[in-house]
């Protein structure tokens, strides 16, 4: 099976590398989403990036005849990232006393994005096909540029978290205490939202909603179940994401299955298994 997989390397190496880098990157970011118990936020931000793509395609249809750049893949990626960043900022701003809760805002963003993305492209068969591709997740077709972008993002995110994971955790878990010790909690929260939107928006554009959302939350849930402290989760979650997607890609290639769905299914099994292990340990 492995030799067979290695035989496909020349043809699919960029797909494999991009998929693994996305998994590791989202696994890292996902620790914060799981730590804040805002898992559905990941789904809403992912869905918002599809709205960004839809709006980008509509805008491209109007503007591309005069400015061809609006028809480019880079423009659609930028639209996905902008929408994801805005969604992350909108959802993170909730929770103030007397205001909308995080959950209410997250649900609103998710439903708005899911419905308007389809409405915007209802009369465009090509557009609907693109949205469908994002929803079902296909990572075939990644380019060397994708590999470079996600490699750089993973390296930058890893380096930043290695240095800043404690203030980041304090802001995520106890923003009032963070502000009391002099951190500008509002700015930190906004920066984390921009980071989440950037990473998730780019990942969704390249790999689709299912794969992106799955790699965001499932490895972090596994890490939560096997770790005794939060800090090691920042190492365990990307490692789980990477290991699971490597195995899933090999199996998917051997069995001729879609790699994104295979990866997410395997990660779901790992979450259940790690949960059982945790309960066993607690008993």
């Amino acid at each position: 099976m492995i030799a067979e997989f290695l035989g496909s390397w020349a043809l699919f190496q960029h797909t494999y590398l991009a998929g693994w880098l996305i998994a590791a990157l989202l696994g890292l970011v996902g620790v914060l989403v799981v730590a804040r118990d805002q898992i559905f936020l990941g789904a809403a931000v992912a869905q918002a990036s599809s709205l960004g793509v839809a709006v980008g395609m509509v805008a491209g249809g109007w503007l591309a005849p005069r400015w061809p750049v609006f028809e480019s893949d880079a423009f659609l990626s930028a639209a996905a990232v902008v929408a994801a960043v805005v969604a992350a900022l909108v959802t993170s701003a909730g929770g103030a006393p007397g205001g909308e809760s995080h959950e209410a805002r997250t649900g609103w963003v998710f439903l708005l994005s899911a419905s308007v993305a389809i409405l915007a492209l209802a009369h465009s068969p090509h557009g609907l096909e693109e949205i469908h591709r994002l929803v079902v997740s296909t990572i075939i077709g990644a380019t060397p540029a994708d590999v470079a972008v996600f490699g750089a993002l993973a390296a930058a995110s890893g380096a930043a978290l290695a240095r800043l994971h404690r203030p980041v955790l304090l802001v995520a878990l106890d923003p009032e205490m963070a502000a009391a010790v002099g951190l500008r909690a509002g700015r930190w929260t906004a920066a984390l939202s921009v980071w989440l939107g950037l990473v998730l928006g780019l990942s969704i554009r390249a790999a689709g909603i299912l794969y992106g959302f799955g790699c965001l939350v499932l490895p972090a849930l596994v890490a939560r179940n096997v770790c005794r402290e939060v800090a090691p989760m920042f190492v365990v979650a990307p490692a789980v994401a990477l290991g699971a997607t490597v195995v899933a890609f090999v199996v998917a290639h051997h069995r001729d299955l879609p790699p994104g769905q295979t990866s997410v299914a395997l990660l779901c099994v790992l979450v259940a298994a790690s949960r059982l292990r945790r309960r066993g340990g607690a008993a």
Partner: protein
């Protein structure tokens, strides 16, 4: 810093939205003093603390900290409660370690600070336990340890005795008094309990009806204001504060 003004409020107004909670507050806390903030629920005790901590901007007047506290490295804060994701794995040691954020400590220094804070809070034997396996009183002590790990010169405690039994309450008050006496730590301690204040405070601030009556503990506690603040009760009442 001894004897210097640590907190100075002049004509201070604090509030939420359009609603002022405190207005025209003049209050000075000097280094080494042990202040107890007394008042009814909703009277503004926590609002005043939030102002001191920089969590609530002054709507009018001025609230200044001593220049040594401007970067807030030496402020320890014990909130009423700390609520976060209960499914998150976190040990007592890791929880307390969050208090070292912003201090710029090396690995060895951090370990020394942690050991000292855990010992102060009598949690050294529980450091490797899950935070969620602790009792309510032990969690409260973990909050205290998280504040002490900063080796504060200003220690701010917002109703820290809420979940403590009498023995734990006494131990906490003894610890606070010892830090105050031995290390000169200035203390701001919010409570509903007049008996605690009369026993442990050097100074008392009565916070009620949007104003603050402050001064040396014997003077303030001997005034008739206490009856106006708490009515006919004994001054001991549970519940959240504004």
């Amino acid at each position: 810093m001894a004897g210097d003004a640590v907190v100075t409020a002049a004509g201070l107004t604090l509030g939420y939205g359009r609603r002022p909670v405190l207005a025209g507050v003049d209050w000075t806390v000097r280094a080494g003093e042990r202040w107890f903030l007394l008042g009814p629920n909703g009277g503004g005790k926590t609002t005043l603390l939030r102002g001191v901590l920089g969590l609530l901007p002054a709507r009018a007047g001025r609230l200044a900290l001593h220049p040594e506290l401007a970067r807030r490295e030496r402020i320890g804060f014990v909130p009423q409660r700390c609520e976060f994701n209960r499914s998150l794995p976190i040990t007592v040691r890791e929880f307390v370690r969050l208090g070292t954020v912003g201090l710029g400590l090396g690995r060895r220094e951090t370990a020394a600070y942690l050991d000292r804070a855990l010992a102060h809070a009598s949690l050294d034997g529980l450091a490797r336990r899950s935070f969620w396996a602790l009792s309510g009183g032990q969690r409260q002590r973990a909050l205290v340890a998280r504040a002490l790990v900063r080796r504060p010169t200003l220690l701010v405690l917002d109703e820290p005795t809420n979940h403590l039994d009498p023995a734990q309450e006494d131990a906490l008050l003894r610890l606070v008094a010892a830090l105050n006496a031995d290390e000169g730590v200035t203390v701001l301690f919010v409570t509903h309990d007049v008996a605690l204040a009369s026993r442990w405070a050097t100074h008392v601030a009565l916070v009620f009806d949007g104003r603050v009556v402050a001064g040396p503990a014997p003077d303030v506690l001997a005034r008739g204001d206490l009856r106006a603040v708490f009515g006919a009760g004994d001054g001991r009442g549970p519940g959240a504060d504004a």
